[in-house]
Point group: C2
Chain length 113, copies 2
DNA sequence: GATCGCTATGTGTAAACGAATATGACGCTC
DNA sequence: GAGCGTCATATTCGTTTACACATAGCGATC
């Protein structure tokens, strides 16, 4: 059964989609960029690059990281970061729900055609 | 102002998004893969690869091409092809409309946060 | 002050992608 | 039947992207 996947286009050429959102969620859940990267099965560098890209994209940081300190450091989502994740999921739900009947119809048309 | 862009995930790993849909529309409008490619400012090969990919993806051809003949040949959308384009645009409209208020809210949250 | 885990950043190589080019088949048109 | 425009397909080549590796810095904790 086909599913919907959406991304938001910002600025000239900046997009944010399911991948970056999931990374943000992992970072929030584990309090660390590197642990989030492991959960996503990507290199720390890749995750860090994505975070950096998002921070620049929105003008304000979505992730705030501390270096050193207890357990070596860590990272949390900023208010903006949390808002982005929450809104994205909400948009996803609304869009999927609104498209549901069209998706079924499409499925039928493919099988019939 | 951020905009929404969506794609449909089919089968294990097959997606169809705005680019392929627009190509289908161009092919339908001009009755030719190569003219569609020119309109999209992409190489004929690229367009052909995309068509081939879609035809395999859906199991049935979305584009039917004739070689030789009047004006050297041509291509039209099949019923399935037309259905896919129509439904995709409908899904796009429904999703964009459903997400509109969330998009505005997100915009505000970014500026405020 | 030694340790530890994490952030932060650079570098080089491999793989994926896209553009361009070349060639052949086909069947109207003239 | 020569020419033309299109579909169909393979090959080459340069660029961009992705990825692995390598390393430096940080600072609370013990």
């Amino acid at each position: 059964m086909p599913s919907l996947s959406l991304r938001i286009n910002l600025d000239p050429d900046g997009r944010i989609g399911p991948g970056k959102i999931e990374l943000l969620e992992k970072i929030a859940a584990y309090g660390s960029i590197s642990e989030g990267a492991r959960q996503m099965e990507m290199s720390y560098k890749h995750a860090w690059d994505l975070v950096e890209e998002m921070n620049k994209l929105f003008g304000k940081p979505l992730v705030a990281a501390q270096t050193g300190g207890k357990r070596g450091g860590g990272a949390q989502l900023t208010q903006v970061g949390l808002a982005v994740v929450t809104r994205f999921r909400a948009i996803e739900r609304a869009a999927t729900s609104a498209a549901a009947q069209h998706m079924e119809a499409l499925q039928s048309e493919i099988e019939a055609g």
